[in-house]
């Protein structure tokens, strides 16, 4: 709208907002509809609730825990230490809801602190793995030819080793630590996204709106980023949300095998393996951290499942 000279343009936030709503009306109604579908999907809401609960626990662990770890400087790096007490191998009670371990450390506090470790691993693995995988998948599907051939053959090779086994081998080679576990999981997880996105791109590429975008002169970059990517991304979102759970489960598994965090750390897998020595004396030691893993994985699984139904174009309208 051209402003006549001499007159001050009358701009208020409410106008800007109204304008924004008008311009994006179709997109907003789409989002509203998605939210409506989401609310109707009880399992997805339950999943989201579990995840939000987990995040809340991870953030509030210092307030909620009965016992705090102390940070000790061991050869230049800060490490968690849990102070022992005389309440050794005490069963679950009001003072120790999840019991104590063989050093008298409160297991409930340790499980709470484990939440943030697991969530961090989830984020630091799934985000880079899905980004790398998506990028390579886009490239392979869009470029075709030799580029596609090379990328997909490498993907095939990675997918022909069971991922847990490759992750164990990589962690063994790099040395035992939770950082190396994360590297190993990124290396084993990206190929799934590449395969997924490539398939998606190949089918989107054939659709008519791509043809029409091409005919009005859209550049390859614009085609890729504005047309193909947004239409290929929803399975990636579903996969990523499921993978959060599986990554948490696998990372804890590597910790369980003794390839991740050091013994004594508040990491669920390590805690389960510490319980093995007291299996029949103190079953709670293995039981509660494992239950925490189950809840976390369940949350991400339910959310992913729900998202799949919600984002499925066949089931929409």
């Amino acid at each position: 709208m051209a402003v006549e000279s001499g007159e001050q343009p009358f701009v208020t936030w409410s106008r800007v907002w109204r304008r924004f709503l008008q311009e994006h009306a179709s997109r907003i109604s789409e989002i509203k509809y998605t939210l409506f579908l989401f609310r109707k999907n009880r399992l997805a809401v339950l999943g989201l609730g579990l995840i939000l609960g987990l995040i809340a626990i991870a953030l509030a662990a210092p307030e909620l825990a009965f016992q705090q770890p102390v940070l000790v400087n061991i050869s230049g790096s800060l490490q968690q230490r849990w102070i022992p007490s005389s309440d050794v191998l005490v069963g679950p009670s009001w003072t120790h809801p999840f019991g104590t371990d063989n050093f008298g450390v409160d297991w409930y506090s340790k499980v709470l602190y484990g939440a943030s470790v697991s969530l961090q691993v989830g984020i630091l693995v799934v985000v880079p793995a899905s980004l790398i995988g998506t990028l390579l998948g886009l490239l392979a599907g869009f470029k075709g030819g030799l580029v596609e051939e090379i990328i997909m053959r490498i993907t095939d090779i990675f997918l022909s080793i069971p991922s847990l086994i490759l992750a164990i081998a990589i962690t063994a080679v790099l040395g035992r630590s939770i950082t190396h576990v994360m590297y190993a999981l990124i290396i084993t997880w990206w190929p799934w996204y590449t395969r997924l996105v490539r398939g998606q791109v190949l089918s989107v590429k054939e659709r008519q709106f791509i043809e029409s975008a091409k005919s009005v002169g859209a550049s390859p970059t614009r085609l890729m980023l504005h047309h193909i990517l947004p239409n290929s991304v929803s399975p990636v979102i579903v996969q990523a949300s499921m993978d959060f759970g599986y990554v948490i489960l696998t990372a804890a598994g590597l910790g369980f095998l003794g390839l991740g965090s050091a013994p004594g750390t508040a990491e669920w897998g390590v805690m389960i393996s510490e319980g093995i020595n007291y299996l029949f004396v103190a079953p709670w030691m293995s039981a509660f951290p494992g239950l925490a893993i189950v809840i976390a994985v369940l949350g991400f699984n339910l959310l992913g499942d729900g998202l799949r139904d919600i984002l499925d174009p066949r089931l929409r309208r």
Partner: protein, 350 residues
Amino acid sequence: MSAMKLWEYVVRRLVALIPVIIGVTVIAFILWKAIPIDPAVAYLGAKGAQKSPEAIAALHAAWHLDDPLPAQYLWYMGNLVRGDLGPSFVNKDPVALNLARFLPATLELTFYAILFALPVGIYMGILSAMKRNSWIDQLARVLAIVGVAVPIYWLGIMLKIFFHENLAVLGLNVLPLDGRLDPTLTPPPTVTGWYTIDSILALNLTDFVSAVSHLILPAFTLGFAQLALILRMTRSGMLEVLGQDYVRTARAKGVPEREVVFKHAFRNAMNATLTVSGLTVGTALAGDVYVESIYGIFGIGQYFLQAALSDGFFDILGYLFIVTIFYVTANLVIDVLYAAVDPQVRLGGS
């Protein structure tokens, strides 16, 4: 004619496997080069290495450690083709011998786990799709969701705790918690390395019963997650097919419901189940690492774990090689089954 085509298809797929297997060994080799420590020192142990620098130098020469990566790779592959996988870092025996020694226990466990998971999963999947929204369906859906969320290593431990406590009360030893055979028994003479088969061949009933009872918990633990996955895929595949027109036509023609479900619908719903069965072999082989260590079964999974914890380079390489071969072969078998089921794949159609 069609048998010929299928045969061609198998050969084509087998040839396509060669670059994949070479690729896996290349990855394993790059991993080896990434190791920050000297393999010779790791092999001799810190003490042995201090004592004799000559031994280190000899190993460097024998293993081509100072050669460039491609030369070293060619040396290893040359040996591999001749069946020499190098010496083990775990027990100094040849890796090939170790793998041959420990493989049967793993294969036996994996076989029985899948033998349990596949039919039960398929049957429950069909049943829950048939009786949609009944209590059976609800139960199956909960099982499908929870089954994949329960970590194998945790399930194994919980089962051990549960059966220990309850069997201690009952004074029974029906479900042993460790090992492959009762320690008082002598293992049957080795023919296949599978205790369940060898004991039958030796006509030793006590060994057979003991071997089977030792397999129940580990096989259940290993199969549980696979069962959940198979159940889920079968159910969703069946639901999709059961809603289609030809199924309604079959029902309208008066075909008995059993026949509609198993003959008309399941044939076409099987694709999803087959795909996930291929994945199942991979997850089961990986799950062996956990299950074997929890139940004290010495198979290649436990061997691999020990090798990983003691920087056993040749052991890790050999294990990766063998597991990849099994996994890839399983997927090949699945693809061939696909082709046998689906003429479009078999005849190279679109």
